[in-house]
Symmetry: C2
Subunit: 245 residues, 2 copies
């Protein structure tokens, strides 16, 4: 019987050229497909909730595929994980309706951006957080970021080489928390443009340093003028945490 | 002018044969001494608060050494870090009294043991936490661990090849917290025997699984009978967090 399987996948993106499969490059999707094909001994047509950039991590990427198998689902994650390297793993599995599609059925995504704001670099946050050694005022960052939520044209924050015509996105919520040396920002929205969160965060970091005003994100949105923006924040601080259906 | 410098050192212990220098092996101490000698261009006699095992991490190892230098202390961590690999770094520096000794002046140490109690392995806790996929009851673990604090003979928990005559240690406090899939246990005490925390944790994990009674640690202490104990918990869950003076 052909079943439509939904899997939740975690990965450390450090050693991959992003999620999406590309010929000749080591990608999470490519590696994951190999593991599935080794498990089911058949070709797998994999759908994924989203493409994460090179270096971005996941605790909640969702994929689905249809497969004719009688394998016990309780064992499936362990079997697939056995075929995966230590930096990718399946966290859960579910049988879903035949028309479920990891990308098109998604209602919302939760991303986390982590800044390690210590004075000196810390080995335990190496490749796992964006290291900023200048003191950051997270209250200023919070003030700037509260202007973002809503259904808006976020085109100003889109990566240069992205080709999307409709740059309106619905951002539901942004929140900022500091715990000692860590600043953690959550973005919850319907979907996101390429590089959108990293561009917002790069500018927010300059706001937190006091280099830009707290109304900078608002002005960038209103004017669609990229000269308001700071650099794109590094990929290593970004995590896809959850996809809601 | 010869100054006595106290440095706080963080490391990811994954790729080292423990902290303590050993001929022919890659150790944190050996690598750290090299970086100091490259910085100061002289031989450095390094004292350290404690020796951590192979695979154990640190966010608060303390070392000290005397050096004749006029280097600006504000720059020192960055200069030393420049000579260190990404998995070791200096987090802070202080000038201390001539008679300060990282080991003998220490009043207490804080260790953290992290268990990732998810159902399947998670790449982001790889080498950074002890992975236990059996459900653990942290309340049982807490109940068992509350019997430990005090000035007691902890000899039953000492590693087999350790040579220490006085096995009494003063353990001030143990606390257990769960946050979703993570169980975090803190041990705060004057000093610890070799493998003591990992042996306590190995047994606590069996208590949390329901394989041993909650009075097992107490019985082991009272009888000094090692047959009460479970296996030694893996090094990768252990962090030296802080040394107090």
């Amino acid at each position: 019987m052909e079943r439509n399987l939904k899997l939740t996948v975690a990965y450390d993106g450090t050693n991959y050229h992003g999620y999406q499969d590309q010929p000749g490059l080591k990608t999470v999707e490519g590696r994951f497909k190999e593991a599935l094909e080794a498990t089911f001994l058949q070709e797998i047509d994999l759908k994924s909730a989203g493409r994460t950039d090179k270096g971005v991590h996941s605790q909640g990427q969702v994929v689905n595929f249809k497969v004719d198998t009688d394998i016990d689902l309780g064992n499936l994650p362990r079997v697939v994980n056995f075929n995966l390297p230590p930096d990718i793993s399946v966290l859960g599995v579910q049988v879903v309706d035949q028309d479920f599609h990891a990308r098109f059925s998604a209602k919302a995504k939760l991303y986390r951006y982590v800044i390690y704001n210590g004075r000196y670099r810390n080995p335990l946050y190496e490749n796992r957080a964006c290291f900023v050694h200048f003191p950051l005022d997270e209250k200023k960052m919070e003030e700037a970021l509260k202007d973002l939520p809503g259904l808006r044209d976020f085109g100003v924050f889109m990566g240069r080489h992205a080709v999307v015509k409709d740059t309106y996105r619905n951002l539901y919520r942004v929140d900022v928390k500091r715990k000692k040396d860590l600043i953690v920002v959550h973005f919850y929205g319907k979907s996101f443009l390429k590089n959108m969160i990293r561009r917002i965060m790069g500018t927010s970091i300059e706001i937190g340093r006091g280099l830009k005003d707290t109304n900078t994100l608002k002005r960038a949105l209103e004017s669609q003028d990229k000269t308001y923006l700071g650099p794109t924040a590094p990929a290593e601080g970004l995590y896809l945490m959850r996809v809601d259906y």
